[in-house]
Chain length 345, copies 2
């Protein structure tokens, strides 16, 4: 079933005319990013289990899939007995999603709406949704800010006793020993074939690095610095400051911090959850590394690194993130106090 929706953002007339927003959505038009997400079995199997193993949540219910991509979650919901699924997707991948749903016999169960959730009305006189399913999480959880759209959908359509899958996210931080890689990524710029390119080091330093982190590199306990409950979170909550205290677990050096998130589907019969942390199996989100400017910070078992992390959407491009991190460490040999301002673009 096709429905373009009021105010649907159709494809721009020519490549030359597209805007930044179009390019954000168009990056999802290509199958490569969907291949990566689908092959992330931690991600996809968690959603599959949350849906297929909980037919009591889906049966005869009206579902909205926010940012449906290839439509996999919508099809899981249809399989689990949903009465109907409204699958919202801005990027051109929705054309493939329509073909896929039809090829799998879900043509009548899933209505694809190409457009911005904030701009469309639902067809069929539908004004209330029983279940929202969405895979909205970005790097550092909040990069790309798709959560704002989920919040909008919840506030506009979700029934008072409606279900959100997933419904909880927790952001963690820990300190990191990463000297060798920091040299490869940052100090590299100090001497490039004999040339001083350190001005680029300064740019690289303030750019959060998304990469797989070896759990052996983590030198403190993890601290959960932010909890988001999808039932109650507001857009204002996504601009926040949170204090943290990290207990050092071995004598080592600290080069910065690593952040990740856990996700929960707590309304499930048996709660489904997954972690993107260094200790957990690989996910396409990996972890987010924030290097300190300070050099080799000597940390000893039992010492505490305290600090504050502040997160806000960037004023110019709200899908980008400004992350400030200040920390203090009084160690056996030295004291370090530093404030860093990162830009996630």
């Amino acid at each position: 079933m096709e429905y373009t929706g009021v105010g649907a953002a159709g494809p721009a007339a020519s490549t030359a005319d597209k805007t930044a927003a179009d390019y954000y959505f168009d990056s999802y038009a290509h199958h490569g990013i969907h291949e990566e997400m689908l092959k992330d079995t931690v991600r996809t199997e968690s959603y599959r289990d949350a849906i297929l193993k909980n037919p009591h949540l889906l049966k005869d219910k009206v579902v909205m899939d926010v940012g449906c991509g290839t439509g996999i979650l919508s099809m899981f919901c249809a399989q689990a007995g949903a009465k109907h699924v409204y699958a919202m997707e801005c990027s051109a991948i929705v054309e493939q999603a329509r073909k896929i749903a039809a090829a799998n016999g879900f043509g009548d169960k899933i209505t694809f709406i190409q457009g911005k959730v904030e701009e469309v009305e639902l067809p069929d006189g539908v004004e209330q949704i029983d279940v929202i399913v969405s895979e909205w999480m970005g790097y550092f959880l909040l990069y790309e800010s798709m959560l704002n759209t989920v919040i909008f959908a919840r506030d506009k359509w979700l029934a008072p006793d409606g279900v959100i899958l997933p419904d909880k996210a927790i952001m963690y931080i820990a300190a990191l020993e990463d000297g060798e890689y920091k040299r490869e990524k940052l100090d590299f710029w100090n001497n490039v074939y004999g040339f001083d390119m350190s001005c680029i080091r300064e740019l690289a330093l303030v750019e959060p690095l998304v990469d797989t982190v070896d759990p052996a590199a983590v030198v403190t306990e993890a601290f959960p610095f932010k909890v988001l409950d999808m039932k109650t979170v507001t857009v204002d909550d996504l601009t926040f400051s949170a204090d943290f205290a990290l207990k050092v677990t071995r004598d080592d050096y600290c080069h910065g911090f690593v952040s990740w998130f856990d996700c929960e589907f707590s309304s499930c019969h048996k709660p489904v959850a997954f972690s993107t942390g260094p200790d957990a199996p690989y996910t396409h989100w990996k972890s987010t590394v924030l290097y300190a400017n300070a050099g080799e910070i000597m940390v000893s078992t039992g010492e505490i690194i305290t600090g504050t992390v502040s997160v806000a959407p960037n004023a110019t491009n709200p899908r980008d993130l400004d992350i400030a991190l200040s920390f203090e460490h009084k160690g056996r040999y030295q004291e370090t106090v530093e404030t860093m301002e990162y830009k996630m673009r």
Copy 2:
């Protein structure tokens, strides 16, 4: 030295206003892609050797660096004794290049011009260039079509006896055994968590795949299907058809083709060259794989696979490539004739 040039494409007023062209250049504004290219030692050391080991080509000469990026090649030229270097760069990375040149004492030797080569005039009354240096090569050599710009610069400014570094490129093709990866990349779409997503397989099939190819996967001799001489190549030459004949070197299966290029700096005292082929050390260009639609094609030693490869810039976005490949194989057990049309986006 700063010079914005006539018609320089300055940064657009806001993120929302940028066009496709701006996004092409902006992808080069971020240091990440420059880090990758600089860390490609095959690439960068080849240029370094071609320049620094050949001062007779550079000393007291006026040089143009087309697409200078961080300015590394311009600085090599200045080091080698160039009289002056005009470094052309459209993306915002040029701001870093200016700082870098200044930090390394080349502020007076290198003039950075932010703008499209096709739109600027050179300052200082300069109308002729002695040397053009450019790292213009893209995936499959021609993806991103920066060669058009080098040709323009050559025709507008290069002295009749001027030097171009590099001056020669050769494109190769061979046949490939790649069954396992083809299944991972293509057949994957036939069954995704039980769903038929084969419409995406059809898209993936016609998209050239840039990846590292194991030399052991190559099942024929390599065939050089296109030679480009930078001194004489025209834009029209970049739309072409070329026949090939591939001699099978072992009994195996063929799943498609692999293409790569070699580059030469033949004006050097001792010619410098590098290959991006499967047999050669890693480069960031990797190789380009073109899968056949046909399944397991049984090839036997000594047999010949003949065909034609046609390349043209895409009409809608000239930086993209349309690649047609038709081939014929009369084997011991079967005959295969196929035409594929790939789109490199």
